[in-house]
Amino acid sequence: METPHVRMRGVTRVYPTETGSLHALGPVDLDLRKGEFFAVVGPSGCGKSTLLEMIAALAPPSEGAVEFEGKPIGASVPDGVGVVFQENACFPWLNVADNITFGLRRQPLAKDEIARRLDYALTLMGLTDFAAAYPAQLSGGMRQRVCIARTLVTQPRLILLDEPFGALDQQTRLLMGDELLNLWRATGATVLLITHALDEAAMLADRVAVMSSRPGRIIEIIETGWPRDRDSRIVSDPAFGAVTGRLWTLLRDQSLNALGPAH
Amino acid sequence: MSRSLPWAPVALIVLLLVLWQGAFLLAGPDALAAPLQTIAYLAQQLTTPEFQQHIAATGTAFLIALLIAIAGGLLIGLMLGLSRTATEVAEPLLLAGNSIPKIALYPIVLLLFGIGLSAKVAFGALHGIIPVAIFTMSACRNIAPVLLKSAAVMRLSRADRIRSILLPAALPDIVTGVRMGFSLTLIGTVLGEMFGSQSGLGYLLMTAIGLQNTQVIMAVTLLLVAFAATVSTALLAYERRLRSRY
């Protein structure tokens, strides 16, 4: 069997507090296959974002090992990893084109190669007409597209998405989901999506991990079985309802736990 | 903004005293008086009736000027802040007025008010009134619209809206304005005493400058700095307590 693209073994996260320590996450064992679309859902506060930050070397695990392409993750973000955050991470002082090429201009790349990748990303994300606009002139959805395009042009082999559509309205989310699927198919990258939206995970992912309330552990991984060539119209498929229903059944008790004993 | 810790002011005072002593050792007694010597001299001066009269003169002028600056600044700020158009018209003008070197206007103040208490008061108030007005005005503009909408839904009268919604909501920013106004009014009053005045700490400072009497210069400056820093710190603490509740 080929080595997993990302491999986590016995990973935990413990925060020191005034009265002792808070066990926030784990232990988690997780393998991501190369080229798959993997989603993680869980109740709020279960540490799913922390999981992502550990793979991106933005937060160190308290115990356990994280590997990317067979190599342990050190103190700095590994080459070939792109991250899209929930918050608007556009640089307000740069226009859309300069925002997208920011990372490229830091690499030894020829000008025409940068221009080619920029064109490709603008087209794929539907931003061609806005290349000269500044982020302040764009809607929230458009800004998030700029951030995705900015990650995309660096041609990452692993794309980490931390609730990228959390601040968007439902219709925009569905359409952005389609664009994400296009991008995933076009680049062949492995995608890890952290989300609290069950339908989003059920629609986009090949596999969905369900996490428990704190300390977050993976309680089950569900195979959706969708064809690679899929889009948001899948929500009308009865099978989609079945997957979403299964996810909610698993999550309901955990979410009640996360809300507290009064419920 | 990082939290300020209780030890910070003490450590800062110690640091400044050390720097002062270092500067004294470097520059020599012709340029500076040593910290301990200055404090001792100030303590001794504080007991003399002559020095106390100067303090009383400055204090009287400063208090009147501060009252005028705060009352006038609040009134102007509230009147302008209640209307969006008035705020947009007035803001750049007030900011430009704040950037004028007011000392250049002092001859006019003297010609208008004549030498004496009223000129000092006018010059002190001139320094303090604009910052109080600017902060009050922007405080009114920055109130969350939902609060004003709630007031409208509760059918409060205009006066009630100002008293029970506008002023309490704007209070932290107004306190900031008063703090700025306090500092600038003090500086303005002392500056006003430096010219065309026969009493007060500013007068004392100016005569000492003429005589190059470093001991008096440093004692008066130390007294002013200590007073200004103490009141300003107290106002800042009050402001932080207000903001932590908002």
Binding site: - | V89, A90, I100, V190, A228
Partner: protein, 254 residues
């Protein structure tokens, strides 16, 4: 008439009407010429003084000192702000100083500067610098505080060094705040230099005003005061205009 045009009209009226009233008051003899000459007479006097060139040396001296205080305070202030922002204990130590700094009568230190630096330009420049620099430092700290964590995380994703992050992410993000500091520095440099010249110096515009005042020479004093008003307000409005353009491009979205 659009709204911005109407605002500009009101602003013009707010300046012109009082000036016209003053002019009328002076001509009607309500304001005595010994107290204040009419605005038109001040303007004529200013034109004559500028045409005669007899104040050129004083004007140049003041402007050069203001420029020196302004440039040094802007550079030192931004650099110190960036350094202090990175070292939390130093910041906590200095924060009380920053918050009470403008309550300190800086002019009180002026005689010491004269004793230490002599009667040249250095004491005036130093007063301007001292008034200006803390405003720049505080604006820089506020600007760096406003940088969202997601942008510094993004810098880490690109494996940028500390210096790269500062130059390419945090400082550009904080630019509008930094510009506010620079605007303050311009005003304070001017206030400091003019004030120092006025109190005790042998040259510069502030000195000339003081000299004219001591000699009851209203024909020189008022035109020079007018000149200072024009320069300080003009400088402030120019910088304010750039400030607004910079902020408009960033929009309300930030």
């Amino acid at each position: 008439m659009t709204r911005p045009q109407r605002i500009a009209l009101y602003q013009a009226l707010a300046v012109i009407v009082p000036v016209l009233l003053l002019e009328a008051g002076c001509r009607a003899g309500i304001v005595k010429p010994l107290t204040m000459p009419a605005p038109s007479a001040m303007t004529v006097g200013l034109v004559q003084i500028l045409a005669s060139g007899r104040m050129n040396a004083a004007i140049l001296k003041t402007l050069a000192n203001v420029a020196a205080a302004f440039v040094s305070s802007a550079i030192v202030g931004i650099a110190m702000g960036a350094v202090i922002h990175r070292i939390a204990p130093v910041r906590r130590l200095l924060e009380p100083l920053f918050s009470t700094y403008y309550a300190v009568p800086i002019y009180g230190f002026y005689p010491l500067f004269i004793v230490v630096f002599g009667l040249g330009d250095a004491p005036q420049v130093l007063i301007g610098f001292m008034l200006a620099v803390v405003g720049v430092i505080v604006s820089t700290l506020n600007g760096l505080d406003s940088v969202p964590r997601v942008l510094t995380k993004t810098a880490r994703v690109w494996r940028m060094s500390g210096v790269q992050t500062a130059l390419q992410i945090t400082l550009p993000y904080a630019a509008p705040h930094l510009f506010t500091g620079v605007k303050l520095a311009a005003a304070y440099s001017f206030i400091g230099v003019i004030g120092a010249e006025f109190i005790m110096s042998q040259s510069g515009l502030g000195y000339e005003i003081r000299f004219a005042f001591d000699n009851l020479d209203n024909g020189v004093m008022y035109p020079l005061i007018l000149l200072i008003l024009i320069v300080s307000v003009g400088l402030n409005m120019t910088l304010d205009h750039w400030d607004r353009r910079l902020r408009a491009r960033r929009g309300a979205g930030r």
